[in-house]
């Protein structure tokens, strides 16, 4: 329990502390230290969960479904912090950001991690909402950190769209609470997910269905589901790169996590009605549309970060689809995909940070010959994209393999759509990637000091997951599958 509390509160403390630290150097290292401490405590927490099963108390609830996401969050936070320290120092040197705003950056970085961890570990659906909204508020200023007109515009759109979305999610939460008032013995427990889950069969189906629509649209906006995704590419492309890495790697996951948690309730409530699988179907539809549309978007890109944010939409769509299908195999695939996508995508964004640093621009047309200028960065980008495109032996392939076969089992004809989307997305990614990494480097392009350790770490993990999934992880994923889909896969 202490580990849990520490894990959650460390970033909060870090955020408060960093808000007052003036020295940029110290702040960078402190940021890293807090992330490292968070990672260690989360690993301890994970060890406890592994040994003693789920952890409940103080309205926290850590089970197999969220424990691995907690570790993932602290891990990605840590590696991004490694990257962020020299990168943001460089940004500051270039004069894009004032020192004062760097304080804001560091504080908000920790604040963001805090909201993410809180959202993951809390048992209270209201707190879940508050922390996801808090994440929006924490990041919105970071998106506009550079204060360019584009950045302000992106942040405004992010703010408005996610604000509306999250408001709708709150309405959905209210409806759930409303349904709980009449189903639970103790109505004050009406926002406790565990209490609701235990009694989910007694929740009023019609209310829960309406609530789910609001929750899906609401949290779905944060997940980046088409057509609610419009904020996402803007925010990713204009914010500082470490932010893009954690947004893509963590925030989207947490939003999807929320959707899935609610789906579990709704499925229970609707189990005995005639449209029992409506939640799943909605998610499948959304997921598929997002997946296909995003893959088509990938063919018309000018900005490198924007491009990868569309790729994130595509993958979130795939996961939503997987959870929508709902069987054990698909759920397992979705859970695994959350993990590998986060790792890969944050690695890519870190690399993209170096790439745009080398090229001095984010415009794809002007990024050329990375492998020549700095082989480590070029190869990082290349392998990262190969991984995200679903090439084995990287782990993304494993989850896509499972997803495809799950689809083949239950919706065989939809696999052709998936196939189409995968191919189109792949073509879109590589057609822009090729000229960026290969070919002659432009005159005067210089290598920069880049720490590729985070990227290597992430890619190696993804690689290892593609070759073999360690027993404890597969145990967790299977437990989570059991929670979500109602049956074990193993």
């Amino acid at each position: 329990m202490n580990a849990l509390l520490l894990t959650v509160t460390l970033p909060l403390a870090g955020g408060l502390l960093l808000a007052v630290v003036r020295s940029l150097r110290v702040a960078g290292w402190l940021n890293l230290a807090f992330c490292l401490a968070g990672l260690i405590t989360s690993l301890v927490l994970a060890g406890q969960v592994l040994h003693h099963g789920e952890l409940v108390g103080y309205s926290f609830h850590v089970d197999a479904f969220n424990v691995y996401l907690v570790v993932l969050t602290t891990f990605v936070g840590f590696t991004t912090a490694i990257f962020s320290r020299p990168y943001m120092a460089h940004v500051c040197q270039e004069g894009w950001v004032s020192e004062r705003r760097m304080r804001l950056y560091h504080a908000m970085f920790q604040g963001f991690l805090f909201t993410m961890l809180l959202a993951l570990t809390t048992d209270n659906l209201g707190v879940l909402w508050v922390s996801v909204e808090g994440a929006t508020l924490a990041t919105v200023l970071l998106v506009s950190l550079y204060r360019t007109p584009e950045a302000v515009e992106a942040a405004w759109k992010y703010f408005i769209l996610c604000g509306v979305g999250i408001a709708l999610a709150l309405f959905g939460t209210v409806l759930v609470y409303f349904a709980a008032q009449h189903a639970l013995a103790d109505p004050r427990q009406g926002l406790s997910w565990m209490a609701l889950y235990a009694e989910s069969a007694h929740l009023h189906p019609a209310v829960m269905a309406i609530a789910f629509v609001f929750l899906l649209v609401g949290y779905g906006t944060k997940v980046g589901l088409v057509p609610l995704h419009n904020w996402l590419p803007d925010a990713h492309s204009e914010g500082p790169t470490p932010m893009s890495a954690v947004l893509s790697g963590l925030l989207l996951n947490v939003a999807l996590y929320a959707v899935v948690r609610f789906k579990m309730l709704v499925d229970g409530a609707l189990a005995n009605t005639e449209n029992a699988a409506v939640a799943g179907h909605l998610m499948m539809g959304f997921g598929l549309i997002s997946f296909l549309v995003a893959s088509l978007f990938l063919h018309r890109q000018r900005d490198i970060k924007r491009m990868f944010s569309y790729s994130s939409i595509e993958h979130m769509g795939m996961m939503t689809f997987a959870f929508g299908i709902g069987g054990p195999l698909a759920t397992f695939a979705g859970l695994l995909h959350m993990l590998v996508h986060s790792l890969t995508k944050s690695a890519i964004f870190v690399t993209v940070g170096h790439v745009s640093h080398i090229a001095g621009t984010q415009v794809i047309e002007h990024i050329r010959g990375m492998i020549r200028t700095q082989p480590a960065v070029g190869w990082g980008l290349l392998l990262g994209v190969a991984a995200i495109a679903g090439f084995p032996p990287f782990g993304v392939f494993t989850s896509e393999f499972l997803l495809l076969s799950a689809t083949m089992d239950s919706w065989p004809w939809l696999t052709s759509l998936l196939l189409f989307g995968l191919v189109v997305a792949f073509a879109g990614l590589f057609r822009y990637l090729h000229p960026m990494v290969y070919g002659k480097a432009p005159e005067g392009q210089q290598a920069v000091t880049a720490n590729m350790l985070p990227v290597m770490l992430h890619l190696l993990l993804v690689l290892a997951l593609g070759i073999a999934i360690p027993a404890f992880l597969s145990h967790w994923l299977d437990q989570a599958t059991w929670l979500i889909a109602g049956s074990h896969l193993l």
Binding site: K157, I160, L161, V164, L168, A209, I210, F212, V213, F214, L216, V217, V226, P227, L228, N230, W231, P233, V278, L282, V293, L296, F297, L298, H299, R300, R372, P375, A386, A389, F391, P392, P393, F397, T398, F401, L402, L404, S405, T407, M408, D409, P412, T415, L419, L422, V423, F426, A427, F430, R431, H434, Y438, G439, I467, A468, A471, D478, L489, L490
Partner: protein, 671 residues
């Protein structure tokens, strides 16, 4: 893993590990002295181990095992039966040759901008991928290995990435490979859905409805066909194979395509089980078209490596003709003829691996010595690189299907299979198969024409450019690799019966019956069905040829004038000087009559420009597949994506409208 691991499997593991070790060793090149040697040594060891494993597997019962990797509920299954063993052997032989060839060839790259370590590492991974594909006994490992093979070979194709054409080729290659892989994956998905598992063992037991069996077959055919380069899915092949360094081209053309053939055989003959004759017809037709189109397009090329790549399309077509015939006969209840078809295809697989690798290594030797790929600038290389020229000639004869070399044997077997069509009852089939045979005959004749062109223009005549005039023989290692393959070409040509005895294990394990009659009359005679139907004795043919040559030479040398006098070539009546190199027939000119005869099949863009001081002739022969299949699809997707992009016009109110609209629609949906 079993406590008593069979020998064949141990050898196979050694092969895979050695290939991986070579990849790791490659990473050290440039830092450690001797790493380069170690890398190729390990690669060679991998090849040798693969050959040994293959031969052992052909002689023993299937061996299976599990590796503690992969999915938690699906460890990697490996299995080495005769079919896998045969393909291991094919892979191993070429890898061995490439490992001998490599150290000399990569010298060019050592001082280039692209590190050798990249080349070596991906070569090792590539080989390991191919070996694992063959060993895989479950769909997951198969796909992992398959994509590893694709991905690492993609990096090899794009290795020399400064030319935009290579980058484009690599992109196209990877794209098509990806499509193909997904298609295969879906094919396995169908089988797994019915068989209840991804292990091949489960799939074999799947009871598929005919419709789903056909769907699975179709998906697999598209997927494997795309990798193998069947028309019209071949567009990547002539782009990608030439782009890679030549020893990699040899691996890709010689072996990787075979791995696709392996996949197809494994999927169709082994896993699906319930073969339908309609599939055979499809395979036969596509195979025939591939063979013919491949050779015709090859004739139009004057880039040597590109030409060879198109020939791979042709030869893959021939292999699939054999497979198609096999499928038809098996499905209609003529197992002997069916097995013959399979054997013919397998034999051609081996042959193509040998001679195509040989030719690519030869092309690499030329490239190494002259930095030239364009036939129009070559000429007279035989006198400058005699050994390469000699081995290349053997390759040319073999690929042109001329006796007594190996290419002829497999084409002969394919013809023999086609001639079994009198056994069939359906009239349509009986008339279709001879037409396919005719196309095969045409293909063979055109291939001969093509290699007369290649050899005549490149090795004979006079040098057409300065760089070619200065060509020097390549290193001993490079030569001996070619010699090794050339020798194997000859051996496979003159001892077909002995080879068939080995090969027989494949259909015996796969279909439960072999081709006992073929080898019943001793090593001297090859009698596929029965001696009175057809027989061929390659050793006697070779003996007779050599004997006749020797005798005639002997007799004539004893004539009145023994000496041969050197003189100038006849100068057509010109008095001032000898005929120059520019007067020689060019490759384009050589192929011009055929281009005119088959003009409809090409996209010919010919221009004659008059300019000061003479005329300029421009000729571009394009592949029709592009305009028929590829460009329209690409345009559709572009148009679609343009339409979709209108979702995001930048107006935040529109975005909000989408949110509102989505909300309303969903609320309406659930009510």
């Amino acid at each position: 893993m079993n406590p008593t691991l069979p020998l064949s499997l141990i050898l196979a593991y050694v092969a895979v590990l050695a290939a991986l070790g070579s990849a790791v060793g490659a990473l050290a090149t440039g830092r450690l002295p001797g790493a380069k040697g170690l890398m190729f040594l390990l690669l060679g060891a991998s090849g040798a181990a693969a050959v040994a494993a293959g031969l052992t597997a052909l002689a023993s019962a299937p061996a299976g095992g599990e590796l503690p990797l992969g999915l938690p509920w699906l460890p990697w299954h490996v299995r080495l039966d005769a079919l896998a063993g045969f393909f291991l052997m094919v892979v191993g032989v070429v890898v061995l040759a490439v490992a001998v060839y490599g150290p000399g060839y990569v010298r060019d790259f050592e001082h280039g901008q692209d590190p050798l370590s990249v080349l070596g590492a991906f070569t090792g991974l590539f080989v390991a991928g191919m070996l694992l594909v063959v060993l895989a006994d479950d769909a997951f490992l198969f796909m992992v290995a398959w994509e590893l093979m694709s991905l690492s070979s993609y990096f090899l194709v794009v290795y020399q990435h400064e030319q935009a054409a290579n980058r484009r080729a690599a992109f196209l290659y990877l794209l098509m490979a990806h499509i193909g892989a997904l298609s295969i994956l879906l094919g396995y998905g169908v089988l797994a859905a019915f068989g209840g598992g991804f292990a091949f063992e489960a799939m074999r037991g799947a009871a598929l409805s005919p419709l789903w069996a056909s769907v699975a077959f179709g998906l697999a055919f598209v997927g494997f066909g795309m990798k193998a380069g069947l028309v019209p899915m071949h567009a990547w092949l002539p782009e990608a194979h030439p782009a890679a360094p030549s020893h990699i081209s040899a691996l890709m053309s010689g072996v990787m395509l075979k791995v696709a053939v392996y996949g197809f055989i494994r999927f169709t003959f082994d896993l699906i089980g319930q073969i339908q004759w309609q599939w055979g017809v499809v395979v036969l037709i596509i195979g025939s078209i591939s063979a013919l189109m491949g050779v015709l397009y090859a004739l139009m090329q004057h880039d040597l490596k590109r030409l060879l790549a198109y020939h791979s399309v042709e030869n893959i077509g021939i292999i699939f003709i054999g497979l198609g015939l096999g499928l038809i006969f098996l499905a209609t209840g003529h197992p002997v003829a069916g097995v013959l078809g399979l054997i013919a295809a397998l034999y051609h697989t081996l042959n193509h691996a040998l001679f195509k690798s040989l030719l690519f290594l030869g092309a690499g030797a030329i490239l190494h010595a002259t930095h030239e790929r364009d036939l129009e600038r070559m000429g007279g290389l035989l006198r400058r690189m005699p050994w390469t020229g000699f081995y290349f000639l053997i390759g040319c004869i073999s690929i042109s299907a001329l006796p007594p070399f190996n290419g002829f044997v497999s084409e002969w077997l394919t013809f023999q299979t086609a001639l079994q069509s009198w056994q069939l009852s359906g009239g349509v089939l009986r008339s279709l198969i001879p037409v396919a045979a005719a196309m095969l005959a045409l293909t063979g004749a055109l291939a001969a024409a093509c290699f007369v062109k290649v050899y005549g223009v490149a090795f004979l005549g006079q040098a057409r450019s300065r760089r070619v005039r200065r060509a020097r023989p390549v290193t001993f290692g490079m030569r001996s690799a070619q010699g090794f393959l050339a020798l194997l070409c000859l051996l496979a040509g003159i001892f077909p019966t002995s080879l068939l005895q080995w090969l027989n294990a494949v259909p015996e394990q796969l279909l439960g019956r072999g081709l006992s009659a073929a080898t019943a009359h001793g090593w001297l005679w090859l009698t596929p069905v029965a001696p009175e139907m057809a027989s061929y004795s390659a050793p006697i043919v070779l003996l007779a040829l050599v004997l006749l040559w020797w005798l005639s030479a002997l007799v004539l040398r004893r004539g009145r004038v023994r000496q041969v006098r050197r003189c100038d070539p006849w100068d057509c009546g010109f008095t001032d000087g000898l005929p120059t190199a520019r007067m020689q027939y060019t490759a384009t000119a050589f192929a011009q009559p055929i281009r005119r005869v088959f003009g409809l099949l090409f996209h010919v863009d010919e221009k004659v420009e008059r300019e000061a001081g003479g005329m300029r002739h421009q000729l571009h022969v394009g592949d029709r597949a592009w305009e028929l299949f590829y460009v329209p699809v690409a345009q559709r997707i572009q148009a679609l994506s343009r339409r979709v992009t209108r979702l995001q016009r930048g107006n935040v109110r529109v975005y909000l409208g989408w949110s509102l609209g989505t909300l309303l629609v969903l609320l309406w949906l659930i009510s």
